[in-house]
């Protein structure tokens, strides 16, 4: 197997699934009608509801959903079960479930006055569903944030070559916001300046790495190289488990990331979050485009970087830790998250994109098309990790992607620096946005009961502190899988809502209902398996050793897992009742009511 074959296979799958399945559902079940008025045209206000060209919206939606998910999931899954099951799930997941969830999230909003999923759940299912959904979303985001902060702090601390790039990314993001919104500089000039400087800082990584290495050593010298926290990490020593240490330098970088995310959460979005994401997008896009092109050309130009070196198959139940279980079902289906299916896409698509849909015929190319494009991103990550086996999962990915980029003549050390930076950047910019959404969710959920939660600093600090506590467990793979379970569960809940809606309007609900049942059962099972693993692999060993912080962190993770399953059970029960009710008697068309976000 080489990379060219995998890319060709991916493109063929995307083409067939889109033309033979997705279009058929769009035509025969949803019956998208170009003449029907959409919320964007009905309620056009030039701000929130704004009819937008489909090509523009495709780019906008793709950028909004493409993040770290498709990359990290593929990396971890390939290391646990081999590249073949990861590739099969990516292909089947996106073809039968992923596009349906993304597309339907937009459809349900367009056909329901542009309402968000939670507002539609309030109307179609039950009022309490909206509140439970907030609880679910907050903890789901907390898991993502904890996993991402942990991954980034580890990579930043162990890879001094990317540290200058990340610092410059932040500075350039702030400068870009100032240039665009205050100095009113043109976008092209501002982009060239800020992205150029950031790229330069990243490419100088191999030279500046030694300076930051010395800096880390100096920080660790404060405690005479004694660790701040010692804990048992089942993912170390080739997934057999070993003692891990949180050194002062790791904590410092974690706190730096926390400060960055806090600022991104409380500052006006134009000041930091948006421009930092924009600069980061260019860095990542550059690495991905060069990488994908390199993966295609590599078999002809540089075959040594195009051959799969990790095993195709590693077994049904990968070993992770001394007493954990990692069965392919259900764990593979949540480890590979956004490249196959994602709940976040439906959440965002239901409002951010749906309120800009100009014409119902655009719903499939924008929603489904973006998901299929994201699948290609997941495929690239899988290829990169499959050819670059050196080091831990993230290191293998960076080495593989660096190899692809080097096909274009970029020296390997710079290419690997760019690949590491691309990984860190995409995770970092997503994480700051997560805290922003967590702040809003916490305020919506608890603001009326606990008034201080309405204060954005309080809500942001609580979110950041909880994420840091989760990070202290050190087992980011479990955090990732818990997040994957919650994220895919979110997609299942979105599909549940779509199923209820389809039943309520008397349409065939099978295309959403069957994937929903599969994802609902799979994700609930995966969350319970992860809770079991955390309890036996992290909580118990650390309890025996009397280590407070890992005990609290892993205990919190188990509680969050149980809470997620309970919340999903409530929503599932309410959804099933509503579904049965609508099957007996379809609902009347919704009254024209103002959209409430």
């Amino acid at each position: 197997m080489n990379t060219l074959v995998a890319v060709i296979l991916g493109v063929i799958v995307v083409y067939l699934a889109y033309t033979q399945y997705a279009r058929r559902i769009d035509r025969s079940i949803i019956q998208s009608d170009p003449k029907r008025a959409t919320p964007a045209t009905l309620y056009m206000d030039g701000v929130d509801f704004m009819p937008t060209n489909r090509n523009i919206l495709f780019g906008y939606h793709f950028k909004s959903i493409a993040a770290a998910g498709p990359i990290i999931g593929a990396i971890v899954a390939a290391h646990l079960w081999g590249w073949l099951p990861a590739l099969i799930w990516l292909v089947l997941g996106v073809s039968f479930i992923g596009w349906a969830s993304d597309y339907s999230g937009i459809v349900i909003s367009v056909r329901n006055e542009g309402n968000s999923l939670s507002a539609t759940a309030h109307r179609l299912v039950s009022p309490r569903t909206r509140t439970i959904l907030f609880v679910f979303i907050f903890f789901y985001l907390l898991l993502v944030a904890g996993a991402f902060v942990g991954i980034m702090a580890t990579v930043l601390e162990s890879q001094p070559r990317v540290q200058l790039g990340v610092i410059m990314l932040t500075a350039m993001g702030l400068l870009l916001g100032q240039m665009l919104y205050r100095w009113r500089t043109g976008l092209v000039g501002a982009t060239v300046l800020t992205v150029g400087i950031t790229l330069l800082a990243i490419l100088t990584g191999p030279w500046t790495g030694d300076i930051f290495k010395a800096f880390n050593a100096g920080v660790n010298g404060l405690t005479a190289n004694a660790p701040l926290v010692t804990y048992f990490d089942p993912t170390l020593a080739g997934f057999k488990g070993a003692e891990a240490k949180i050194m002062p330098s790791l904590l410092l970088w974690a706190l730096g990331i926390a400060a960055f995310c806090y600022a991104g959460s409380v500052l006006p979005i134009w000041r930091m979050a948006q421009p930092v994401i924009y600069v980061g997008f260019w860095i990542t896009a550059m690495a991905m485009v060069l990488g994908l092109g390199g993966a295609v050309l590599a078999p002809f130009v540089k075959p040594e970087v195009a051959t799969f070196v990790i095993p195709a198959w590693k077994g049904w139940n990968a070993q992770l830790g001394p007493s954990g279980i990692m069965p392919l079902w259900p764990m593979l289906f949540v480890t590979i998250a956004c490249g196959a299916i994602s709940g976040w896409h439906a959440l965002f698509g239901a409002v951010g994109t749906a309120r800009q849909i100009e014409n119902e015929a655009d719903m499939l190319p924008v929603g489904g098309g973006s998901m299929f494009t994201e699948f290609l991103l997941g495929l690239l990550a899988l290829l990169a990790v499959s050819v670059g086996s050196k080091g831990a999962p993230v290191g293998a990915f960076a080495n593989g992607l660096g190899g692809f980029i080097s096909v274009w003549g970029v020296p390997l050390q710079y290419a690997v620096s760019l690949a590491f930076a691309a990984f860190i950047v995409i995770v970092l910019v997503v994480t700051q946005l997560l805290f922003r959404v967590m702040k809003v969710t916490l305020t919506e959920w608890l603001g009326d009961v606990i008034p201080p939660m309405r204060n954005q600093h309080v809500a942001s600090l609580i979110s950041v502190a909880l994420a840091l506590l989760l990070m202290m467990t050190g087992t980011w793979i479990y955090l990732w899988q818990l997040f994957g379970g919650a994220n895919q569960m979110m997609a299942a809940l979105a599909l549940l809502l779509v199923t209820v809606w389809l039943a309520s309007v008397g349409k065939n609900w099978l295309y959403a209902g069957l994937p929903m049942i599969f994802m609902y059962i799979t994700t609930a099972a995966s969350i319970l398996v992860t809770a079991y693993n955390i309890y036996y692999n992290v909580y118990q060993p650390n309890l025996a050793a009397g280590r407070t912080i890992p005990i609290v962190g892993s205990g919190l993770m188990v509680l969050v897992a149980i809470l997620l399953v309970v919340a999903a059970a409530f929503i599932g029960y309410d959804g099933f009742r509503a579904f049965r009710k609508y099957l007996r008697q379809p609902a009347a068309a919704p009254k024209a009511a103002p959209a409430r976000g």
Binding site: Y43, D45, G46, V47, D48, M50, T52, N53, N55, I56, L57, F58, G59, Y60, H61, F62, K63, S116, L117, S118, F134, I137, L180, Y181, L187, T191, I269, W270, Q274, Y278, F281, A285, L347, F348, A350, V351, G352, R355, R436, V437, V440, T441, E444, P594, A595, R596, G597
Partner: protein, 98 residues
Amino acid sequence: MPTRGFADRFGAAWEAVRQFMYGLTGHEFARHAVEMRHEMEAVFMVVTMGDLIGVPVLPPIYSLRLLPYVVPEIATWKRHMVRRKEFWEKEEYDMHGV
């Protein structure tokens, strides 16, 4: 029906790519700039025409003098106001997904 020539097809494809790139890059900034302007306008409307939604504001004579200039915005403004729990809330447009 005449078939499209290569130049037309290439032009259409190029235009689609250009629009896609704009969607990837500039669209978000353009939207946000519009949102910022809209927030300013909402404040202006509340200060001058707040009595239309029950907020006691300027003496009506000044509102009446401004009325012709704001008539096109009134429907949109009211729609936005009824979506808020309180009229002074600031909208987090990007967070509507939750």
